[in-house]
Each structure stands twice: as structure tokens, then as C-alpha cells.
């Protein structure tokens, strides 16, 4: 091959680069390792992390059972090693799966349109907010403090330089739900969107309907956020919302220290041309058979460049595929039963502890730690190889001695009793 290209050494292939841009040293990276050594290395690192039999952390990332088919299917080379399905004729597998994904997300959220996925929930939410601004032509966003704190931080980063004014509104210290009075104050004619999360960061279910009315009354859109997708199996879908942004990690995606996950962005039909990201549409092939392809690309960066609805290109296709497999396996009845088990587990533990808030909760709740500090409780749990909950004052200084606890179908009664014990309850 060297002859063909007219070179004698491989190095000749970049001889035309000016000396000052060539790297003359050799990279300070240890010599190539064997599979065996590489697997050993990551095993050793894995053993340095606490991967115990029980974990009561939630707060946007949940420990749910992952059906084996999710990995079995996502490991098929035809899905794993294909690119974005630009060439429809040899990408019908991926395209069909995405079309099914879009459909299932619509069915679960009550929206008309869903895209092929966003990076994650925390980036889907700001995209939803910016979408609302494009739609309304307004420049302010009102966000509930009960929305995941890190999501709100990302919103700040994304919008800071687009002349967007972000206002946060309070929660009711009693119920843990949005404080409607505070919301009203945050609203005005410049408000493009009201952003809420339900179940919210405290695990409390918000009254989306009421909030939607307030928002719509002021001509603002309602952006509805969810972090615990399992709740969609049991809770009334956010029909009153205009845009839904969410996180699908609960659908067969491992916690994996925070990623890769898959974000959801769905909306009402009329806003479809403002939705960012990829969309798969149904069409026909030359012989009249049903076929699928990427569509409405006119919204996207590779066509519109700086005028695009977003800069997103690569998304989280394979993760969305796993979520699709998960939804297909559980199906109509399964999602319901799974959600009901989560509800029962959380309410079992919730019933044994002092809860901070009275609002209805799904599989997470804020517990008052009383005598012991959250840190101390977690230390006690650590001794019995249980990862405890999240001390809430990390994000809410006003919530001292409170711990956010999450229970899922994987939380055993024994372990939950262990937690109650650690609370000294």
C-alpha cells in the first residue's frame, strides 16, 4: 500500500506538515495492554466503588431492575455499530425502532410529537424552555424550586447569554408542592414558560392542571419535567402541558455514575417545527411499501446552521433503544404494576419515618432525620453495606436534617427496615 501512495515510510504521510505543528516526542501513555489487563484494571476500579445490595438514592437517578433483553438487543452489532440513520434504505432497523420510541413516548406523556432523544433530562429541559421562547417570542422563564437543582443550574448555563431572564418560584413548606402565590408573582407578560417537575425533586406530585391554567392565563406555556419515568405508568399524563422534557434512565438504563442516559422532548402537534433534535417519519419506498426516514431536517443544524432550533446532532439513540425494549417488555400492564410496586415500597418506608411534606408522593420522599444527622445515618447504613439517602441541605440550605429517600421494586423490606432502624425510628 505504501508503494501505491508513493511513500517509503508511514511517517512520509504527514511530511507536508510544517515542523512547528508536528509532534516530535512520543506520547506519555503506557504501552498497549492486553484485554486481560484492561478488564483487570476496570474490575479493580469497580471494586473501589460502593456497589452494595441496597441503595436508597434517587434524586434523578434510580435503581431499577434492568431486563436482560435490553443489553442483549442493544449488543447486536447492527444496532451498536451503525451511525445515525441518514441512509434510510440500510437503516430501517434503527428508524423503525425510533418511530416506535416516538410513539410510546407520546402515549406515555399524552403529547402529540416526541423526538428521537436528547442528551438527558437536564439538557432537554433548557431546550424546552428555549423552544417556548421561540414559540411565544417572550424572554422570561419561571422555574419551580422543586425542579431538580442541577437541571436548574444547566438552564442557567444554557440561557445566560441569550438574554433570558430566569425566575425561580417557591414551594409550599407544608405540602412540598409549588407555592401558587409565589408562582403568580413570578408570572408576567414576558413569561414564555413555566417549568415544573412532577413528581418533583422531593418526590411530591404537583398539581399540573392548576399550574397550567395559571400559566396559560398569562399566555405562557407549561413545560413539564419528569425525572422518574416509572411514574408515567401510574400518574395521570401531563395533558395540560405544552412541552414535556424528561429523563428515561429508569427504563433499563444503568445508573452508571450519571450517564449515558436519554432525554425526552415531546410537545403538542402545533409546535413540531420548533422542536429540536431528530425526528423519524413514516413514508413509502419506490415500490409503495411502508418505510421510515429522518424528516423535517430543515429544523436542524446541518441544514439551518446558525438558524437551527438547536446545535444537537449526535443524541442518545442506543440508550433510547434500550428504553424502547424496556417499554415493550413491561407493556401496558407491566408499567402499571411496576409503578404500583414502587409506590407500595416507598409508602412502606415512608410510613415508618417522619416525612417533611404532606403532598402525595410516588417513590421518593423527604424524611426528617430528627435526633441524628443525615450524615450520621448514612454512616450507620454504610456499616451494613447500604447506601443511604441524599442530605437535602446540599441543595436546599433551609432543609436541615432532611434526607431524600427513594424506594423501588428493588428495595427489600429487610433493607427498608434497616433504614428505619438507622433513623432510630
Amino acid at each position: 500500500m505504501l508503494d501505491t501512495v508513493g511513500a517509503t515510510h508511514l511517517e512520509d504521510l504527514y511530511a507536508h506538515l510544517p515542523p512547528e505543528v508536528r509532534f516530535h516526542g512520543s506520547l506519555n501513555i503506557p504501552a498497549g495492554k492486553s484485554e486481560y489487563e484492561i478488564i483487570d484494571y476496570f474490575r479493580a476500579r469497580g471494586a473501589e466503588n460502593a456497589n452494595w445490595h441496597a441503595n436508597f438514592l434517587g434524586a434523578g437517578v434510580y435503581h431499577h431492575y434492568r431486563p436482560v433483553l435490553a443489553d442483549a438487543i442493544a449488543s447486536r452489532g447492527e444496532f451498536l455499530t451503525s451511525y445515525t440513520p441518514y441512509q434510510a434504505e440500510i437503516s430501517q432497523g434503527t428508524l423503525t425502532a425510533i418511530f416506535e420510541f416516538q410513539t410510546m413516548i407520546c402515549q406515555l406523556t399524552g403529547m402529540d410529537v416526541a423526538n428521537a432523544s436528547m442528551y438527558d433530562g437536564s439538557t432537554a429541559m433548557p431546550e424546552a424552555a428555549m423552544m417556548a421562547m421561540r414559540i411565544t417570542g417572550r424572554d422570561a422563564v419561571a422555574v419551580a424550586r422543586t425542579v431538580h437543582p442541577e437541571y436548574r443550574e444547566v438552564l442557567g448555563t444554557y440561557t445566560r447569554h441569550q438574554g433570558v431572564r430566569v425566575r425561580e418560584f417557591e414551594y409550599d413548606a407544608e405540602t412540598g408542592q409549588v407555592d401558587l402565590a409565589s408562582l403568580e408573582q413570578a408570572l408576567d407578560e414576558s413569561t414564555a414558560a413555566v417549568v415544573i417537575q412532577s413528581p418533583n425533586f422531593f418526590g411530591v406530585v404537583e398539581n399540573a392542571k392548576q399550574i397550567a391554567e395559571l400559566a396559560h392565563a398569562r399566555g405562557a406555556l407549561l413545560v413539564f419535567v419528569f425525572t422518574e419515568a416509572i411514574s408515567l405508568g401510574l400518574l395521570e399524563p401531563p395533558r395540560d402541558a405544552d412541552i414535556v422534557a424528561g429523563e428515561l434512565q429508569s427504563f433499563a438504563i444503568a445508573p452508571s455514575y450519571g450517564g449515558p442516559f436519554a432525554g425526552v422532548l415531546a410537545c403538542k402537534e402545533k409546535y413540531v417545527r420548533q422542536i429540536p433534535g431528530r425526528l423519524v417519519g413514516e413514508t413509502k419506498d419506490a415500490s409503495g411499501h411502508r418505510a421510515f426516514c429522518l424528516t423535517l431536517a430543515a429544523r436542524e443544524q446541518h441544514i439551518r446552521r446558525e438558524k437551527a432550533t438547536s446545535n444537537i446532532c449526535t443524541n442518545q439513540a442506543l440508550i433510547a433503544l434500550m428504553a424502547t425494549v424496556f417499554m415493550a417488555l413491561y407493556g401496558k400492564r407491566g408499567l402499571r404494576e411496576l409503578a404500583e410496586q414502587n409506590l407500595a415500597k416507598a409508602h412502606y418506608l415512608g410510613g415508618k419515618l417522619w416525612r417533611r411534606f404532606k403532598g402525595p408522593y410516588f417513590n421518593e420522599f423527604a424524611a426528617a432525620t430528627g435526633v441524628r444527622s443525615p450524615q450520621e445515618i448514612n454512616r450507620r447504613l454504610r456499616d451494613v453495606k447500604i447506601v443511604g439517602g441524599l442530605p437535602l441541605d446540599r441543595f436546599y440550605p433551609e432543609l436541615k436534617n432532611s434526607m431524600l429517600l427513594c424506594c423501588t421494586e428493588m428495595s427489600s423490606r429487610t433493607d427498608m427496615d434497616g433504614v428505619a432502624e438507622a433513623f432510630g425510628a
Binding site: 512520543s26 413514516e282 439551518r304 439513540a317
Partner: protein
Amino acid sequence: MIQKVRPHPSQNEPLLFERSSPGKSGYQLPDLDVPAVDPAEALGSANVRRDIPDFVEVSEVDVLRHFTRLSTWNYAIDLGLYPLGSCTMKYNPRVNEAVARTEGLMWIHPFQEDPLAQGALAIMAELERALAEITGMDAVTLQPAAGAHGELTGILMVRAALEAQGNPRKKILIPDSAHGTNPASVRMAGYEVGNITSNERGMLDAEALARTVDESVAAIMITNPNTLGVFEERIAEIARIMHAQGALVYMDGANMNALAGISRPGDYGVDLMHLNLHKTFSTPHGGGGPGSGPVAVKKPLEPFLPLPRIQRTASGWSWNCDRPQSIGRVRAFYGNFGVLVRALAYVMAHGGDGLKRATLDALLNANYLRKLLERHYQIAYHAPSMHECVFRHQATAAIAKRLIDYGFHPYTVSFPLIVHGAMMIEPTETESKQELDLFAEALIAIANEFQENPELVSTAPHTTRVAKVDEVAAARKPVLRWSRL
């Protein structure tokens, strides 16, 4: 007259919704070990949904078969050459998949206290170090979820850095050959786009540039090698010009597969850049993601990196959120950790010398193809090619479809936009000579077919399950979800 039928299993698989029948399901939950709770009571009946209309109801075997059949409708690296220019579709080593499924890495929660996640932190720190070494930069953030996300992160840092000096400035210069994400990212960071044109050699013209740069320019965003597969030979000079004007140099490192081990942007004036781990570092594309787009920066930009940062303390690794000048969080948690694991595995498998060797093989394969094809297709620019080469042909789209009949995935079609009828070919280093020869033969055969039988080419593909797909119809009246008729 041998009549064929359309075999059903892999050919006529319906949608899951069309397979559904009431009552079917593919799950089984453990028995509840706590008292059941009445949803209406616990949540208020208004909050409880009655049904999920038309949602899937299929069995476990239905699910496995459905997706297995669907998978057979895809082309993939595992099946053959995937020469999408600018996408670096190289072999995805399976050991990366194996290590990413290590229990102790898969099941850890991002809010686990630092002492309970030392292994994960060590992995990220190690990868940051390796990427800094490869790029010649001083610090790296692993948070961005993809290249475009990295671009946004980087440009926000440019703004923060200039703001810290008192003036964020107005615009960012972008060559006309740039990928669409560049201008889009720039806009999201609140900057205007200043388009600049490349010269007849397909490179940036330093002199022309010197004339355009002024106080209003915050930075230039250079893709290097650019999307023509050409190395920007004047890049060091360009950096000096920008710096002289107090502007910064951002490099789109999507094409780092042409440079790893032989050229380090940090050594010649690039202030910050992003990498696509799902290209250069072999993490699988998965039909469109997940990716990872780390941003590497020189020391002066380090204070502006997104939150949080990994730090080494006496008690081990930990997260540091106390960084007043940071641009803030660009996503929840710390990045696509599972992708980072794969990328580090790739780096470990190659080592420093292996990375350089891979780069050289990538250059060799691209230039080998260029030579085989030059006599049959018109090269867009005569400048030497690095890891990819761009040809031009009026019928690029049709030829691409016809390639499918020969069993190959097409090259990148009509990009970069500055090349009319672009055929952008990137073979990557993991292709064998056999495969490259077959590909060249196919393209040459098609060139002839185009002369003798244009119809044959323009109506391709002919061997796929679905014939040519009507994308116009799809956009005219979008059907974006299944619904019961």
C-alpha cells in the same frame, strides 16, 4: 418464471403496536414483600391515570424477535466498511463493551459520596490526563455529551474568559467548510457567526484572515484537519494573528483521528478544543449516540471549565464545586461515564505508540483509496489528504445509493457544502486492504455504470429490503407516530 415471495421473518415484521394483543406481556415482577397501596388513596384519584391507550402488549419472545428482525435491516461496521467522511466509523472493540458492564461501574449512583466512588473518579482523572497528553492541552472536562455539546461548552468558556477581561466581544469566525454544529453552537452561546471562506487549496488564507480580524472577533473556530481532510497548514500562524488581536482559537477536534500521536493542537496556539470520543476513541455510535465530547483547554482557560471538577485531596479523589469563574453546569452529574470507560479502555489497549500507529494507518488507508480512485473521480482539492479524501461528482447522491447494492455503506454525501457534489470518504485505520480494494472496485464499476446505464444508478438501491425511500413525501405531511386507524 421463478416467482419470489417476501420472506416474512426479517422482511415483513410489523410494528410492535401491530403485533400487540390484549393481555400479553413479557415481564414478571417479584411478589410484593410489603402491603400493596391503593393508588387512588395514596395519590388522589385525579392523579391516577386510567389507561395507556394503545400501548404495547407483547410477549418476551415477541420483543426479542421484533428487534432481532429489525436489526437485520441495518448496515453496521460489524458488517463492513462504513466510510462516512467526518464520522470516523472505526471498529468498536468488544472489550470496551465488556468493561463498561463491570458491575462496580454500572450500578453506582452519581450522588454516592466521593469516598464511595473512588474507582469512578480515578477512571475519569486518568482519562482527563490521557486526553490532555494527546491534545497537548493542560486541562480537560469530560462532561459534554457529544461534540456539539462540547462546542457549546467551549464557546461559553471563550465568552467567560473574555468577559473576565471586560469584553466578551461580538462574533466568532467560522470557515464555510465547517460542520453545521459549529455555527449553531456559537449562536447558543450568544455570538454572531462570521463566515470566512477557504482558498483554492481548501485551506484558510492567513493573509485574508489577518485583514478581517478585529476587536469584535472573540475567536475563530477551526476544524483541523478540516472537513476536506486537509490539514490547515497555516494554523500556527493563524493562532498568532488571533492572539495578537486578543482573540482565541477554538479547534473542532472531531477529526483528531488524523492527528493523535503526530500533532498536538496545544503545541501550536490552539487555546481550546473538543474531541469526539465516539469517533477518534472508538466508542460505538449506536445508531446515533450516545457520544461524548470532552473539551481540552490551555491553563489560562482552566478556571472557566464547567462544574464540578475532579480534584486530588489528601483523602483521595473528590468533586470540587467551589470555582467562582466557572461557566457552571452544562449537564446534570459528570458526563457520559459509560462512554468514558470505553474510551479509556481504547487508550489503554493502544498506548502512546499504538495511538500514533492507528493515526498513520488511518492516513495510509485514506491516501490509498484516494490513489485508487483519483483516475476515476475528480478530487475536490489537490492538497494532500490526511484521514479522509473528498471527491466531487454531479451524481454523488445516486452513486451513494448504488454503493449499497455492492454491499457498502455510502460515503458522506454533499458535505462539506463548499464542494458541489461532494463525496467525502473516510475509511479509518481498522479497514483491511482487501476491504478497501473491494470498495474501490465498486466505486469504479459504478462510474462505468453511470456512463453506460445511468438509469441503473439513479434508481438504486435495488438489493435492499425497501427500495429508494421517499424523503420528500415524509416531510410534506409528517407522520411522526403510529396511531390506530
